[in-house]
């Protein structure tokens, strides 16, 4: 009897989910009709959403709290910018962005995964700030505080938006599929009980590191996209506030649901420019982050994200 009810609930939830997902796709494509500033914001949201999705893999499914994602975002952006400046074709630049971030992840991951929990939070923060200071001070390379501008590059708004949304959807689907594989399940197992996983014979260090690399690569790609989108890269994007914002997005959307993640960025980037005039917006964002952390870790957009009956707060390691 309980089984029948459960099936029914899942069925309803499943239908609700599919509806919400199609709704989401609609929302993602709607701005194309509006053009102009809304379209600009929407593309920005889609790209940030990509970075947030990556973080939700790392945080929600892998249990690694990283407050240094801005470094990967910014590195990807700078890699793209510098590559284009050096005259490399666009496709190569877009390839270099994730690769550069993955390389950084490999280097820092070796140290990061020697620690746990709150120390990972602080260590990733430290690494993130190191990259920030490098970007800020190495004026010869990055133009320092003035930033790097990509001149002479015309990419149609519409094309960029479609590509961004396409990549976002592809990555979300890809990651969902990944989580169904033994590799994905092992990552979840590591989050739930690392000791047990090790005692079963799994060398957990490599799994955590590979997940970190994947996350960094996706974030780097998002960064490259942002550079293209804005036409301008500033070291300020690498400041730890961006990492914190990404984390807020992840928490708002529910750290476990990848779909929820992609919708949350719609609130936050809209809030940031809006908050100069609408302080309530920033208030809501910050408040929700705080409340989410304690009360509703499944996030404000949970129905679009997590499946019903999942455990709320991942035991973060």
């Amino acid at each position: 009897m309980a089984d029948v009810l459960r099936e029914a609930r899942l069925g309803v939830a499943g239908r609700r989910q599919t509806l919400l997902r199609w709704g989401l796709v609609g929302v993602l494509l709607l701005p194309l009709l509006l053009g102009g500033y809304p379209l600009y914001l929407a593309t920005e949201a889609a790209l940030l959403g990509l970075a947030a999705v990556a973080l939700s893999l790392l945080l929600g499914h892998g249990g690694v709290p990283s407050l240094g994602q801005a470094a990967f975002l910014g590195l990807g952006a700078y890699a793209l910018g510098l590559a284009l400046k050096a005259g490399l074709p666009l496709w190569l630049a877009l390839l270099l962005a994730p690769l550069a971030s993955a390389a950084l992840a490999l280097l820092t991951g070796l140290l990061v995964f020697r620690t746990h929990g709150i120390f990972i939070l602080m260590l990733t923060l430290a690494f993130g700030q190191m990259v920030y200071s490098a970007a800020h001070k190495w004026t010869a390379l990055t133009g320092g505080d003035d930033g790097l501008s990509l001149s002479g590059l015309t990419v149609s708004q519409v094309v960029l938006h479609l590509v961004a949304v396409g990549v976002l959807l592809a990555v979300v689907s890809g990651l969902r599929a990944l989580l169904q594989t033994p590799y994905g399940k092992t990552l979840e197992a590591i989050r739930q009980n690392e000791e047990k996983t090790r005692s079963l014979g799994v060398p957990t260090f490599y799994y955590k590191l590979s997940m970190y690399l994947l996350t960094a690569a996706i974030t780097g790609l998002a960064g490259g996209g942002l550079a293209l989108h804005r036409g301008f890269i500033s070291p300020h994007d690498l400041f730890w506030l961006t990492s914190a914002t990404l984390m807020v997005m992840v928490l708002l959307g529910g750290s476990r649901g990848l779909w929820g993640r992609s919708s949350a960025p719609y609130f936050t980037p809209l809030c940031k420019p809006g908050s100069a005039r609408l302080p309530t917006c920033g208030f809501i964002c910050g408040r929700s982050a705080g409340a989410d952390g304690a009360v509703c870790p499944r996030g404000a957009v949970a129905p679009a994200g997590a499946l019903p009956g999942r455990e709320p707060w991942p035991r973060l390691r």
Partner: protein, 209 residues
């Protein structure tokens, strides 16, 4: 804030950090709403402005005042923690709240007071330091960062750690800016990362339970 949000999270440092960051966002935005986003400066009070002349030794008065205040406050807090009964209770509750409560101490109240004192000290730091730093939105992120760096490097669990950590960071930052402007910031964070990876409890810290 402590009472309603942090109470249930004793020992779960990670969640504490995330909540306080979120609240920080909220407060920062509220302040921006009230005070606007312009950069402000606060002049020091007249008695403390200007240079101090001790024979041939010239030194601006206000920074000296800040320095003395810093040392004084440190010594006061240290005194509080080590010599007073309250200080012992704070240390006991941090180490083992369950056991402390069997001795008749109310861990909830102690935590509340500690949080309050800590916040008050931070506020004090803001007030005293105001004339020396440009006040702009975004200062909260900067200061949180500095505070975090100092605690990480200096070490958790002992107040001396924070004191010496602050001095170390300040010196590295100051001299770094003078001699190696490009690398100063980078070095501080590199130091922070190194300490975290190799000696997570900080240079002078105590191993956390």
């Amino acid at each position: 804030m402590e009472r309603f949000l942090l109470r249930g999270l004793h020992g779960q440092e990670l969640e504490q950090v995330l909540i306080t960051i979120g609240l920080g966002f909220v407060l920062a935005d509220l302040l921006r709403a009230f005070f606007g986003a312009a950069i402000r400066s606060v002049p020091p009070p007249a008695e403390l402005a200007g240079p101090l002349l001790l024979g041939s030794f010239v030194y601006p008065k206000y920074p000296l005042f800040v320095l003395i205040m810093g040392v004084l406050l440190f010594l006061l807090v240290r005194l509080l923690l080590t010599k007073t009964p309250f200080g012992m209770q704070v240390r006991a509750v941090t180490a083992d709240p369950g056991m402390a409560s069997t001795l008749g101490i109310q861990p909830a109240r102690v935590s509340l007071l500690t949080f309050g004192i800590g916040t008050a000290l931070a506020g004090m730091g803001g007030v005293v330091g105001a004339p020396m730093i440009a006040l702009a939105p975004g200062l909260d992120a900067q200061m949180t960062l500095f505070a975090l760096i100092v605690v990480v490097i200096g070490g958790l669990g002992r107040i001396e750690g924070a004191f010496w950590g602050a001095i170390l960071v300040g010196l590295v930052d100051g001299f770094g800016r003078l001699f190696l402007p490009q690398l100063a910031m980078f070095l501080i964070f590199a130091l922070m990362a190194l300490v975290l990876a190799l000696r997570p409890e900080g240079l002078l810290g105590r191993r956390m339970a």
